[in-house]
């Protein structure tokens, strides 16, 4: 297990147009993209979605390698879904392959293929959002987009704060896990061999110190935040103000256009 591979929530600073878009616009665009993705039904719409994503990745300068690396931890889920879809999609006509109780139909291959593609694109587009947006901006944007819900007394500011602190501490805790693991390995702990149960058991001496330290950190952080006059969202200002620019409206229009075209393609029923 290479913990450094976890790029979840990581931010790669840069100066591409994607980096410069307003974070609220980016969140909305991601939502548009996901909606479009779930409407897509055929090769034409998938190609369009794929082309859009590839274009965005190229523009962002994040690099496909990082994206693929980030996807490693969820590879298992992808393969699992693919296999389920492959075997359990009933089809008309003769099965392509049949052995024992398994039958694979053309439809199965098709569904599995599209399902894998959909999951990969879904994850890529959310990764692209976090890779190109600083976590603080991301949470600011969420807080601002969900702002109207504050009227319903939902703790939006608190949620946003929790999220940004969680993101802030991911690298620290990963580093710490690596350290504890190294310390345990030096004393003969073995995290890599054995069956699943043994592996899970080996994790206990790792998790206990990690949790204890996380609680201590939380305690100290709370005091430090209080010392810096934190007293909730009331009366708080922000150094960086979010402002929509022309490019954000253009991007939103394009995103909306994408949804419309997928809908249109479905309506026309090509492929």
């Amino acid at each position: 297990m290479a913990l450094k591979d976890i790029t979840l929530g990581q931010y790669f600073p840069g100066d591409s147009i994607l980096h410069r878009l307003d974070p609220r616009a980016k969140i909305l665009l991601t939502v548009f993209y996901i909606v479009a993705l779930f409407m897509a039904k055929n090769i034409l719409s998938y190609s369009l979605m794929f082309a859009t994503l590839t274009g965005c990745i190229l523009v962002s300068h994040v690099g496909f390698r990082v994206l693929v690396r980030g996807m490693k931890p969820i590879l298992f889920i992808v393969v699992f879904t693919a296999i389920l879809n492959l075997f359990y999609t009933p089809g008309e006509g003769e099965p392509l392959v049949a052995f024992w109780i398994f039958k694979i139909y053309w439809e199965g291959i098709r569904t599995a293929f599209f399902m894998v593609l959909r999951i990969m694109m879904l994850i890529s587009c959310t990764f692209l959002l976090t890779y190109t947006t600083s976590p603080i901006l991301l949470t600011d944007a969420l807080e601002s987009l969900l702002g109207p819900l504050k009227k319903l007394r939902l703790p939006i500011h608190e949620l946003a704060m929790m999220m940004s602190i969680a993101l802030r501490f991911i690298p620290t805790l990963i580093e710490e896990t690596d350290k504890i693991m190294a310390a345990q390995k030096a004393r003969g702990a073995d995290f890599d061999s054995g069956n699943l149960l043994e592996k899970a058991k080996a994790l206990i001496p790792l998790l206990v110190p990690l949790f204890i330290s996380a609680f201590r950190r939380a305690d100290e952080l709370a005091v430090a935040m209080e010392c810096r006059c934190y007293h909730g969202g009331e009366g708080r200002t922000r150094m960086r103000q979010l402002k929509y620019a022309g490019r954000d409206y253009t991007a939103l229009l394009l995103g909306f256009g994408l949804c419309l075209s997928i809908w249109g393609i479905n309506l026309l029923g090509v492929f």
Binding site: I136, M225, M239
Partner: protein, 281 residues
């Protein structure tokens, strides 16, 4: 003299426990004048951190009073005024940094105080310049060295424009280079920005650079004075579980052998000079 920036009047404190409460601060009377550089020494558990936490109302006294530039810390209405006057820096820089970007972390304090955005910008830039971290303002803190992280923590406090900064063992987790960086920064703040500094430390050589040293033991102040007056009291320091600075220790041992050496040679240079004068006599 004008109003002291920090003042405690017979401050006592004990953590509320079920069984007999253990007294942690036992009648501390202390005045710190604005602009001072005060070091606080004491063995583990002597109550230094507890005292520090009283200086910006993180803890409230069980008995006695604490005043921050004249404001009683028990006055809840003035809590933000107290905390923006006295900033606090702790031992572990990782647990004080709230944001993923240096300048955004630095802005956290002024944001909480409701300062308008463009003013926050100037305060943050000034604070980062003061600690020499302006060039790293858009970096991720977790990728920086310990000394750099601690300087960011100091900048985060400075951005609130405090009149006083209390540092609780800010160098305890740092390597020698980081320690020097942080100490230089602290001294510079005191001299150039006229910020009152209270430095809690276990390092005698750091305390020796302060203008005033306070020695604590079991919740009481047992000695208070200029480093030159405190450090030569070797027996007293040893009796409260502290080791005198190495230079003083050397002089002390040599004096026991009957050599005529001054005990107040605190810095390496002074020490070397004293030995040189003795030998060339």
């Amino acid at each position: 003299m004008e109003n002291p920036i920090l003042k405690t009047e017979h401050l006592t404190f004990s953590y509320p426990t079920e069984d007999a409460p253990k007294v942690i601060l036992d009648g501390v009377d202390l005045e710190i004048q604005a602009g001072a550089f005060v070091a606080v020494l004491g063995h583990n558990g002597s109550g230094k951190s507890t005292l520090a936490k009283h200086m910006n109302a993180i803890l409230l006294p069980s008995g006695g009073k604490v005043y921050v530039s004249g404001i009683d810390t028990a006055d809840e209405e003035r809590l933000l005024d107290i905390r923006r006057t006295v900033g606090m820096v702790f031992q572990n820089p990782d647990n004080q940094i709230v944001a993923n970007v240096v300048e955004e972390d630095c802005a956290f304090g002024p944001e909480n105080l409701g300062v308008p955005p463009d003013e926050i910008r100037t305060q943050v830039d000034a604070a980062l310049r003061a600690v020499g971290m302006y060039h790293l303002r858009d970096h991720a803190p977790h990728l920086l060295s310990g000394g750099q992280k601690q300087r960011i923590a100091i900048a985060g406090v400075l951005a609130m424009k405090p009149r006083c900064v209390v540092l609780d063992e800010p160098t305890a987790m740092l390597d020698p280079i980081g320690r020097r960086e942080v100490l230089e920064t602290v001294k510079k703040l005191n001299v150039e920005n006229e910020v009152t500094v209270v430095l809690i430390t276990h390092h005698m050589d750091e305390a020796a650079q302060a203008g005033r040293v306070i020695v604590m033991s079991d919740g009481k102040i047992v000695a208070d004075g200029a480093p030159r007056d405190i450090f030569p009291q070797v027996e007293m320091l040893r009796s409260v579980g502290l080791a005198p600075p190495e230079t003083v220790e050397l002089m002390y041992e040599l004096r026991k052998e009957g050599l005529d050496l001054p005990l107040d040679a605190l810095s390496d240079e002074e020490c070397a000079q004293a030995l040189y004068t003795l030998l060339s006599r």
